[in-house]
Structure formats: C-alpha cells, structure tokens
Symmetry: C5
Amino acid sequence: MKYIPKKEMDFKEPIVITGFPGMGLVGNIAAHKIAKDLNLDFVGYFDSPEVPPIMAVEEGILYPPIRVYANENMIVIYSEVLIPQKSVYELADEIMNYIGTKNPKILINLDGITSLNPKKTYMVSASENMLKSMEHENIEILDFGMAGGLAGIITVRCGDKDIPSVCLMAETNGLRPDPKGASNLITILNEIYNLDVNTEDLLKEDKAIKEKLKKLAEEQMKLLSKQKVENPMYM
Amino acid sequence: MKYIPKKEMDFKEPIVITGFPGMGLVGNIAAHKIAKDLNLDFVGYFDSPEVPPIMAVEEGILYPPIRVYANENMIVIYSEVLIPQKSVYELADEIMNYIGTKNPKILINLDGITSLNPKKTYMVSASENMLKSMEHENIEILDFGMAGGLAGIITVRCGDKDIPSVCLMAETNGLRPDPKGASNLITILNEIYNLDVNTEDLLKEDKAIKEKLKKLAEEQMKLLSKQKVENPMYM
Amino acid sequence: MKYIPKKEMDFKEPIVITGFPGMGLVGNIAAHKIAKDLNLDFVGYFDSPEVPPIMAVEEGILYPPIRVYANENMIVIYSEVLIPQKSVYELADEIMNYIGTKNPKILINLDGITSLNPKKTYMVSASENMLKSMEHENIEILDFGMAGGLAGIITVRCGDKDIPSVCLMAETNGLRPDPKGASNLITILNEIYNLDVNTEDLLKEDKAIKEKLKKLAEEQMKLLSKQKVENPMYM
Amino acid sequence: MKYIPKKEMDFKEPIVITGFPGMGLVGNIAAHKIAKDLNLDFVGYFDSPEVPPIMAVEEGILYPPIRVYANENMIVIYSEVLIPQKSVYELADEIMNYIGTKNPKILINLDGITSLNPKKTYMVSASENMLKSMEHENIEILDFGMAGGLAGIITVRCGDKDIPSVCLMAETNGLRPDPKGASNLITILNEIYNLDVNTEDLLKEDKAIKEKLKKLAEEQMKLLSKQKVENPMYM
Amino acid sequence: MKYIPKKEMDFKEPIVITGFPGMGLVGNIAAHKIAKDLNLDFVGYFDSPEVPPIMAVEEGILYPPIRVYANENMIVIYSEVLIPQKSVYELADEIMNYIGTKNPKILINLDGITSLNPKKTYMVSASENMLKSMEHENIEILDFGMAGGLAGIITVRCGDKDIPSVCLMAETNGLRPDPKGASNLITILNEIYNLDVNTEDLLKEDKAIKEKLKKLAEEQMKLLSKQKVENPMYM
C-alpha cells in the first residue's frame, strides 16, 4: 500500500478528519459531505492491491477508492469502498505515516455505533486529556463497549505517538445508509470548529442519497460477483 | 506477472485499446473484433500463474489468455479469461509498464455498464481535459456511478502519469454476451478514428457468437471444476 | 507482531499471569479482574495485523486487543479478542520474548476445561517439579487430556526454557461466559499468592457481566460481519 | 518444486510425451501405458509440496506422484494425481527446464476434449508449421475452442521457445476413466512413430482398469478427507 | 518448522519407527505403545506454527504434538494431532534431516489401509531390495494401490537417499481408532526385532482406549471450533 500524491499543499497544523465505511456509513457520508461543502482539493490517494478495484465516478471523473481531500487547515481522508480486514492495519499505518509529517492539530475519526433508538453521539480516545479537552454538551463519553475498524486503530495509534485524537461515534440503526447520523456528526464539528457544512441538504437529500447509494451498491455487488465467477465467457 | 514478446514492432504514437471481461463481455468482444478486422499481428502476451490456465484455440493455433495485438498505429490488449481480483492491480501495472515505453496517443478502455434498457454509451476519465477532447454526440458523460476492474484502474493510473485515457462503457443487460453493446463501442471508435471494423457481421453472428461463447463457457466450467476436484483418479 | 510499550516499569521477579479467550472465557475474565482489583498499570500491548481490529472501551478510553498490565511484582497479559489460530504461535513467541527479560518467578496460564458438572480446578505443566511445588488441596493434577491454545503453548515453551510455569484450568460448561469458573481460579491464586482480588462482586456481577459480554459479542459479530460484506455502500 | 533424478540417461533427441489428469483421464492412461509397454526406466520425478502427498504403488514399489520414464529416444512425463491449479504453471516451467537441456525432437502433450459422441482426435499447436508437419488422416485440426491445464501451457511455452510441440486431444465423455480415448491417442502415436504399444489389452482391461481406478479414487477420497478432518483423534 | 531437542542421546544405528494419524489411527496407536512399553525417553519434538496448537497431557505433564522418543537403539516419532496437508512435506523433510545424522539401520513407517474385512498387513518400499530383506510370512507385498501422507513421503525420500525404509500398513476399518490393527503391526515388529511390546493390554484396553480417544476427540473438536468462532466474547 502506498500514498500517491496528486497535488501539492502547504499544511498549517491541519485538523484531520477520517471517515470509513462502518455502521450506517455515517463516517464516510459525513467525511464526503465535509470535503465537498468546504471545497477541499483532491490531493492524493492511498493505493492498495488488496482493496477491491472499485473506482467512484463523480461528474465524469474517475476516482480511486481511498481519497484524501485538503486545504491548508484541514485534511479529510475517506473511502466509499469497504477496506478488507486484512488491509485495515496496513492502511492505518500508511495514514499515520502520511499525517505524521503534517503536524496535525487533531485527528477526528468518524464512525457509527448501533442503537435501537439512535440519538446520541459518543466519543472515545486513547488519552484521558483528549476526553477532557473535547468536552461538549452533545457528546457523551462511551463508558463501555467496542470500537472496531480503522477509526479505532487510528485513535489507538495516535495515542501511541502522542498525537491528539478522538473517535466520534454517532448512534445509528446500522442497516441503512444513515445521513441523519452523519449530520449529527457534522453538526458537532460545525460547532466545535466553526465550519459551515450544510446539514439541511444532507437531510433533504436523504431519500435521494439512499437511492443513489443503493444503486451504487447494486452495481458494486454485480461487479464483485462478476469478479468471483470463474466462468470467464458466459455472463 | 510478465510480458512475453512474440514479435517486434515499431510503434508510432499508437492508439491503445483494452477490453477485459466485464458486463456483457462487451469490452473483450469489441477488442477481439477490432484486432481481427484490422488484421493486427499477435505481438505478445502477459503471463501470470494467478490467471486460470485456459488457452484459446483459433484455427488450430493455441493462444495464452491475455493477448496483445498490434500494428504500428494501434495496440489492442484483451483477454477472454476473467482476471482474478487479486491479479487485477498487478496486470494493470504490467500494462502501464508496457505502454509507458510506446508513447501512446491515448488509452481507450472498453467495458460495459448495466442497464435495464441498454442504449447509451458513457465515458469517464481521470482528467477533465479528456472529457472535453473526446466530446461526441453519441457519448454521454457518466455523472455518478462506479467503474470497476481493469478499465477503471488503468484509466486512473493513466491520469496519474498524464497519459491521455478514457473509459468507454456501453450499456448492456449484463447477463448474456452482448455483441450489440460491443458493436455500439466499435461504431463510436469507427467514427472517431476512421476505422473500418465491421459491425454488421458482429450483429449477424450474434446468435452464432453466443452459442460459441456458451460452449466455451461450458468447457471452461468443466475444466475449472475438474481442477478443483480432489479426486485425481475418478472423473 | 510486536510489543508496543506504553509505560516503563522496574520488575522484581514478577509473577506472570496470562488469560486468553477459551472455554467459558474463564481465563480472560479472571485475568481482567486481577488486573483491575490490584490496580495494575496498563504498560503496553502486543500488536498484530492478524488479530481482528476490535478495540475495547473502558470509561471512554480505547484499548488495543492484547494488553499487558503490571506492577513491580506482577504482570497480567490478556485479551478479550479471540486470537486466530494462525497467530497463536507467533503471539506465544512474542510473550516469551517479553517475559524472558523480566526474570519471572513463575508463569501461570489460566484457561477452562469442559465439564458437564463443573467443580474442580486442574493443573498441568511441562515440568514434574512444577507439579510438586504447586501442590494445593484445591488443585487436581490432570491425568489425561488435551490443553489447547496459548495457555498450552506458553507452558510448553516455558518448559523448554526452564522457566517455571503451570497451566491452571477451571472446569466450566464452556457455552457461556463463566464468572464462577473465573472466580475459582482467582480464589486459588488469592490463597497461594496472598492476593486480595474480590470474587464476591465477580459472582454478584455475574448477571451483569453476562449481559455486557453478550452485548459486546453482538456488536463484535456485527462489526465482523460488516467487515466481511463486500457491499461497501449499502449496509 | 524441483526435479529429483533417479537414474542417468543419455538422450538422443528424444520424443517427449506428457499425460496429466484431464477429461476422461485419457492423457495419463495413455502415457502410463506407453511407458509400461516400451519398458521405459523410471528416471526421476518432480517434487512439490503443493501436490497432494499421494504415492502410487505398483508391485510393492512406492512411487511419487509426478513421474518421468525414459529411454534414449523417448521421455514420458505423467501423473495420476491431479495437479492443483496453483501449481500448474510452476510444474510447466520445471518441465520446460528439464526438457530444455535434452534437445527434444518434439513434445506431444496428450489430453481429452469433451464430446457427447466421442470419436475424433484433434490437434492444436502454438506453431502453424507444426500443424502442417503433423498432418494425419486421423487427426483433425481444432478450429475453435479451449485447451486448459498443463497440456495447453506446455504447448504455448514450447511455441515461445521454438521447441516443436503439439497438443493431441481425444474426444471423450469426460465422466469416466476412458481407456478407449487413451487407445485412440496411442494408435495415432503407434502409426506416426512406429511404436508397438498394445491397445487391445488396454481395451480388454477396460473393465478391470475402471474398477482399479475407481478403487484408487475411493481410497484417495478417504485419504484426502482424512487430511481435511480437524479431529486428529477420532476417525 | 524446527526440531527442539529436550535430551541428549548417543545413537547406535537405531531402528526408527514413525506413526502418524491415518486410517484407524493404527500408526500412532502402535508407535505410542512401543515408546511407552520400551520406556523410551522423550528426547525432543518438531515444532511448527502450522500444526494446530493442541498439547497432549499425560499424568499432568504437557507435551507438544509431534514427539520423538528414543533410547540408543530405537527412535519413535509420532503425533496424535493430524498434520495439515500443507505441512506434511515440510515435516517429512525435517524428519529426514533429523534421522540423516543418526545413521539409522532402517525406517519403518506405520500406517493403516482400509479393508472391509481387516486381517492382513502389507508392506511397500521405494526399494526392491527392502521388499526382499523384509520378507515375512505375515506381511504381504501390496501389489497395487495408494499410500498417502507422511508414511508414504518418508519412504520415498528414504529411497532417494538410499536409507533402508519400508511402509507397513495394517488393514483396518478406518472409521474407529483400531487398537487391533495397531497390535498386528506391533506383533510383527516384536517378531522381527525381538521386542517385548505388550499387545494383550492394548487389546484389553481397547474399550477404554476408544473412550479416552473419543473424549479427547470431542475436546479437540471444541477447541478447534472455538478457535474458528469469530465471536471473541460470547462462547
């Protein structure tokens, strides 16, 4: 796995936000929205032969799966393609290498946590100090549970390297793409960092987003089943 | 994986066309037809132990799965054998190595995209300029979606290396070998590059092609099941 | 796989206790309880890309799966995440490397053994002398059977390196998390080493522990199924 | 994978015949019969940890799976054990290394091709010249199809190295060991190369061969299921 | 995979006996009995991360799976744990390395062969001379068949290195642990080598052995299923 740069950028202690497919896809929906609304540049991508070869298309332009968008003050790293378990640690290490040279202010890793009655947003960190400094009336500290995947590993690795990091987890049903959960995460980030990411159109677009994501999912299932069929000739 | 040359060729900024098994097999059906009708020479092949050992037979001659046909001005790379997902990136890299020294004019990667009512042909690229320069009344820019497999990866890699490249995707049902979708791709290439590839006999042969491909598929299924059976003696 | 230190510690011939998920989870329930009640510090963890990326959360703090807690006189190594069979030997070797420099007094490896009527606690060792020196009215020597997993391998490796070691196995039903079996192990260790680990609240908490562990298990199953689903978009 | 020599031999531009398990097992039945009837010496074998560890017994003598028999003028390479797909390319390369130093006159790779009404024998080659020089009234050139496995790969590799080679494929039902298909291949080779391999007893023994091969297959299935069962103690 | 020595021994052209789990487990039951009755010392073991981590317990002492017992004149190598197919060749090579320096008189590899009416004992070898020198009224030469697994590979390897070796195979039902088949092998070895291994108690213990092995098998199945379950928390 390696990082392929597409554009130079001078970073000034950027805030780093990651969002990878998890419960309700809230992490990547939120990250993608932030990158779009703040007009961040596509600055590079992480390339790995282990990740399914599914490229995203936006307005005719083809993008590799694991993308980095940025301006001087913010870096957003996300993927719409699920990272296979065997690549998760490797990608976490590459992300740590990448941000290690950028002198980040903080890493905020976005994810979902399942709930039958989704309302809250939780945080966890590898560092007690982070829990104190990120105190917010709309964020609860998760007392006991599990955090899996990239969000969890990156947060632990940051703790090892004394890089400030939290994992923010929005409650979600977990069965459907959940723009509401994503918007809860964005609302909190808007408040803390004075951003101006539009959650209303995310909610308005809820129905349209779900249909688009559903269509994408179907196409991906077909692509991936086709990959698996050992009959090369007869489709 | 490596490239095995079979014949020398002096290239003059060739157009490169790739077609690998995808939806409706439109990519490889089109690529194969182009190579045959333009009488391109069999100049080499990509060899990989990861690709199922299925050799094609044409008029008594045995061919390895991933073939390169060419004349001075055109290179066609295709396969009738499905490339396993774990080899796709490696093959893309070998193809990039191969064409990197040939100073290509453009890479056109042919594939299919599923549709319930197949009519259109779409294009995507990693470069905005390419979308402009390839404007054509019969090609629509795909606004939102996914492009998987070799066609997608090669197009992205070309973007990274500033090699002009598009992915052309013909709508297709996706369940059957689709010579109609293949002929739509060929028609567009005929128009843009002033080629003379015969689409009528592709359509006339539609029934015959499907029976041949179906027969090939059955033989391949048997070959591949046989490979998998752990009973060496009793077939 | 490697060891990531988090905190320095001066060890004085420590007793080392290991507890990994096995029958009834008695090993890791006991080890976790010992670490908590004796207020041991979190001193480091074993990191491996082969182990599922599931981080534990306790009071808002995120922990990697395979943890080491310690004070000067005791080291407790445990995990709540099942170690895949292909990583078990590697982790055993890393643990042997780690404790090899600590001049341990003894390694006590905790595990469960299935029984329809769970009452007893057994011990086995790679060394006859160990069986004699660990004689205790509440420990029976296992005459004939099998001991699998990390507890067994570590005990054998200690025998190879002349490091005193036993494997203590509490009888358990094996189907449910079994705090009772864990408390039997703790009671014996309290007696032999004059510890003061509270088994009453372990038993009182039995119902609550089971519900918590059950909830964790469900979340983990979801996490792990999500990892496995190849549909990145539609959850 | 490597070649283990058992006996020295001075080769004089030998004819090389290969026969590996394929449709109807015609390739290896024919190759085995040729080696026996011409009293060729067991000169060595190809050894690979990837091939199932199943040794053949003939008259009390134990043989490894992939064997080479020879005299000065002929080399026969065959196996009764199915070569796993992932080892096929590697074995083809080892065979090419082996015969590369023997200055062979021709490589004839024997295999089966499925047919509902098996009668014919086909040939394919990587070289047009070979098709001309091997013209025979009882061999048809296969116009269109697939040739899989070792027979196909070896024939293609010989084409790359300018070593004369054909693949001869006897039509067969493909479901049962087919001594009739094997005898058709032998008859053609007897005619072309003036050999004296007895096909009558192959046909007479048809029933006995099938029972023997069936018994072998059952024993192998048991051996291979035993290998796969993870219960080491209770069979 | 490597050999871990536990005790020094001066060997005087020892007879080497191997017995690994196969049909009816006759090989390892016989080998284990010989090691016990002749009071051989536990001198070392073969260690491999590919072999399931299942340690045997005998009288409170924990043993690794693949053990070597010996005195000056005899070496017995056996395992109660089934060796995975992918490790079989590697273990055979390690065993050949180990015995290669011991100047063995002969290697006798014990295994079972299935029969509906088990009575006989067969032998095979890679060497004609061995069949002659091991002639015995109670041993039949196997005319035609298959010998799989370690017994077969070791016998072939010994043939390659001119080390005298036979494979002795007792007929067995193959479904149950078969102390009767094991005792047939022992009886023949008692006669040829003037040993004094007690077969009566093996037969008397038949019922008890089967219950013990059955219990072991159940525990192993549980251990191995536990290893496979991806739910670390909820057993």
